[in-house]
Amino acid sequence: MMALLRRDLALALRSGGGFGLSLAFFLIVVVFVPFGVGPDTGVLARIAPGVLWIAALLSCLLSLDRIFQLDWEDGSLDALALAPLPLEGVVAMKALAHWLTTGLPLTVIAPLLGVLLNLPGAAAPWIFLSLLVGTPALSLLGAFGAALTVGIRRGGLLLSLLVMPLYIPTLIFGALTASRAGDGLDFFTPFALLGGVTLLAAALIPFAAAAAIRINLR
């Protein structure tokens, strides 16, 4: 399983991988917002947590179709299905690799980019923590969508439509955690629910996605 994780990280980081793309997209969205919304610092501070969360979510979406599609195209997925690894483990490792190459870098630079949006100082650590807790759910739910659409040529559109509704709870609780923290309000409830969504996804998605892959290999 570690070999699979290492291979997927190497593939993502080398040329042709999707590592830089998500990060660049995140940067572009966050930099553009002040130009589009205008320089009113009060408005920017109010929308900053939401903008950072939406940008992170869209960046995540960008590289989802690579999770299984490339392995399906070159036959690796057939070979992995017969390999001694359980397919559930394959899904978990691939979701982890996706998170390490998209969710984690986004989480790390989000507080820095928050400066561009006049993110309140009190909210900065909570943007970091809410993304840290919430983005694994984005990779896991995305892996499920990718497993459902593997084998469909240009399945990216269908994948986005399938995954979008599943992302909504994470988006609401994640953005709410950071904005309530910025306003000095109690944010424990949305933060706990955010963690709950991630834990639920981590527990269920590997099985659901593995079942979807088995059906799609037929």
Binding site: A3, L11, S15, E73, G75, A79, P84
Partner: protein, 232 residues
């Protein structure tokens, strides 16, 4: 051709296929397929394109669950090698092979590299391999997987005559070690231990019969009624 030798497989057992019916998508392709392959033998599947050789191999590997029938060995003893060779262009030859070795709990990739004359190319990214070299790298996975049953779908595509001979030598060593192989191919490999099975007579007669489907069987009756109207 340098003769290679493989360590004997511990759990040699014959592969028995009984009354297998398999489908591709919704269509029943083959039915009543029965044969036995003993350890140390290779079965060559011959048939025109589209007759169902790939479908049969995928059903035996349980990648596509068979509609009916039994296969005596579990998929855990099989390796699959199909049209797509599972080679990652961004990784080097050695990295590609080391990954598959690690997945199958093996350490040493040198014998596999040498068997397919890849030792000199070990550090080259797979993107810079020729089609034949890439194919050889894909085939080398068979040796690091150490499974007694090889299911090979057109393994000799884009191999030159010398490499086909090398490959036949590897398959020969696999058979000598007590392994067995099912090979769908149009090119004679010249193996001493091969039998030939023509798949054509097993073509499914009732192609309109709809196959076992978990959704329909679960009682989505309207869908089933609609389909039967269409098919009659």
């Amino acid at each position: 051709m340098n003769a290679i030798e493989l360590a004997p497989y511990r759990d040699a057992a014959p592969l028995e296929v009984r009354d297998l019916a398999c489908r591709r998508g919704e269509r029943l392709i083959l039915e009543g397929v029965s044969f036995t392959v003993s350890p140390g033998r290779a079965l060559i599947l011959r048939a025109p394109n589209g007759a169902g050789k790939t479908t049969l191999l995928r059903a035996i590997a349980r990648l596509t669950p068979p509609v009916r029938g039994t296969v005596s060995l579990s998929p855990e003893r099989m390796t699959w090698f199909g049209h797509a060779d599972g080679v990652k262009a961004q990784l080097t030859v050695a990295e590609n092979l080391r990954f598959w070795a690690a997945v199958h709990g093996m350490q040493d990739i040198t014998p596999a590299l040498e068997a397919f004359r890849l030792a000199d190319l070990a550090d080259r990214p797979a993107a810079y391999l020729s089609a034949g070299q890439r194919r050889r790298l894909g085939l080398a996975r068979l040796l690091v997987a150490r499974r007694p049953v090889w299911l090979l779908d057109e393994p000799t595509v884009s191999l030159d005559a010398a490499t086909v001979a090398t490959f036949a030598g590897v398959v020969g060593a696999h058979l000598a070690a007590g392994g067995l192989a099912l090979i769908a191919t149009h090119i004679p490999l010249g193996l001493a231990e091969e039998d030939v099975l023509d798949v054509t007579p097993f073509r499914a007669r009732e192609s309109a019969e709809h196959a076992h489907d978990p959704f329909l069987d679960a009682g989505f009756a309207t869908a089933r009624d609609g389909r039967e109207e269409v098919s009659r």
